[in-house]
């Protein structure tokens, strides 16, 4: 399973083009991956401004790396995982410099999609807050697996940890989310002690 090439046809084609014409195809790399990188940065990191800077920083690092590598190496790149690794590393470096305690990160609920009812916005805000309460390792694992949709093999390669460890982080993260969700909703109706018939 680890040997399987999980690259999408679009990424395979993009890697080939990057190998032969970096300047002519780099914009397509940005357009293809900016939404998912922004989502990962926003949901693992903090506010929109920081996320935007982080994504730009990650793409600049990617561009420099691509400019220095031989075409054969670029053609074989798993772009999705590789860009994710660069983004996470850039985020770690930045957090180290800024020394922001993760517990104090303010989570941005995100722009409201035009046709969204208010309730949906509230729901996104709730889930963004719940994610913020997870440990950094659990939060990253849950975001990569269930917000971005990477496979466990891809995540393990991207964060440099064994697949089993990543799975454990996701499972514990999901359990913690459920507990926190229940706590934030309060005790369910009909289960309050005084209303339980004797």
């Amino acid at each position: 399973m680890g040997m399987m090439d999980e690259r999408s046809p679009a990424d395979v084609q993009l890697a080939t083009r990057l190998a032969t014409d970096l300047d002519g195809s780099f914009e397509d790399l940005v357009l293809a991956h900016q939404d998912r990188l922004f989502t990962i940065a926003l949901r693992t990191g903090g506010d929109r401004h920081d996320a935007e800077e982080l994504v730009q920083d990650a793409f600049v690092r990617a561009y420099r790396a691509l400019g220095a590598w031989p075409p054969a190496r670029i053609r074989e790149l798993r772009l999705r995982g590789w860009l994710t690794t660069i983004l996470l590393n850039a985020g770690r470096n930045r957090a180290r410099v800024k020394r922001v305690p993760t517990a104090e990160l303010v989570f941005d609920p995100g722009a409201e999609p035009a046709a969204d009812p208010l309730a949906r916005r509230d729901e996104r805000e709730t889930w963004a807050r719940l994610l913020a309460g997870l440990s950094p390792a659990q939060r990253t694992a849950v975001v990569l697996r269930h917000v971005d949709g990477m496979s466990y093999a891809e995540i393990a390669a991207a964060v440099g940890r064994p697949e089993g460890t990543v799975k454990a982080h996701v499972h514990r993260g999901l359990a913690a989310l459920r507990t926190a969700l229940l706590a934030s909703e309060g005790p369910p109706e009909g289960l309050r002690a005084e209303e339980i018939p004797a």
Binding site: E27, D35, Y63, R124, W127
Partner: protein
């Protein structure tokens, strides 16, 4: 591989995807030098459009409008330039200081697409101090291509960053002020006057056949605008029509303006 995740949680987490803000892609491309921003600044010759990217300043252009500027920029570089409100503060400060004559603050330039010869010509023009001028032949001699005088003129005409690279300080080999890519010869005279040179005086000297000034006390000869030449008092000032004439009179070339190559090829 499936997870133990209920459909509600799965949908809620997938719903946290967020599109990148508009402009992020463009800013990223600007950072790596695959697109540019431009803004308008004031100058002695009117408003200028200045384009830049993460590699440096990529173009300075005079009287035009945004659409024409963008079209020309795209035709020359293949890149998209987007109008923004202002230059980044540090770049604005550096350009202001450069236009005021400070040659020692470094401004990064993006000169991709130009030849090594063009770049050598432009870098040499950067060495000419404010208020001074040098002929095309001087640049040709200084970069080791004494016969490439016409090519020097062409390279200066293609200077994508006039004023920052002061091609206005390079004049015809016969001493006349000559052409200027940033809006024509009148602008060249305006800028030179602004910088403390006197174009009319330079041209009347040229018409009188004077190419060099010498000092009969030091026996050194200079370009007429060299700061050393301007220190020589009227009483000790000697005129020369050529470096050969100066050498024949026993004068040696100034080490600052290095006039020897200036009249190598007319």
């Amino acid at each position: 591989m499936t997870d133990l995740i209920d459909p509600t949680t799965e949908a809620a987490l997938a719903g946290l995807r967020e599109p990148a803000p508009p402009g992020l892609a463009h800013r990223t491309l600007v950072a790596v030098g695959l697109a540019d921003d431009f803004a308008v600044i004031d100058s002695p010759v009117g408003p200028l459009r200045v384009a830049w990217n993460g590699r440096g300043v990529s173009e300075v252009a005079g009287a035009t409008d945004d659409a024409t500027f963008q079209a020309r920029f795209h035709a020359r570089t293949g890149r998209v330039a987007r109008r923004v409100d202002a230059l980044p503060a540090d770049l604005a400060r550096k350009i202001e200081r450069r236009l005021a004559g400070d040659r020692h603050n470094r401004i990064d330039l993006d000169l991709r697409g130009s030849t090594a010869f063009e770049q050598a010509v432009w870098m040499k023009a950067l060495e000419i101090p404010r208020g001074e001028v040098r002929p095309y032949g001087w640049i040709a001699a200084e970069i080791g291509r004494p016969k490439a005088v016409r090519a020097v003129g062409t390279a200066l005409g293609h200077n994508p960053v006039p004023l920052i690279v002061p091609c206005h300080r390079v004049v015809r080999s016969d001493g006349m002020i000559g052409q200027y890519s940033l809006g024509g010869p009148e602008n060249k005279r305006t800028i030179l006057t602004e910088e403390g040179a006197d174009p009319d005086e330079l041209e009347s000297l040229a018409r009188a056949g004077v190419r060099f000034f010498g000092s009969d006390t030091t026996h050194i000869y200079c370009m007429p605008t060299c700061r050393d030449a301007r220190r020589v008092t009227e009483r000790h000032l000697v005129h020369f029509p050529s470096s050969r004439a100066a050498a024949a009179a026993g004068y040696r070339p100034c080490l600052h303006c290095r006039p020897a190559g200036a009249s190598a090829v007319a």
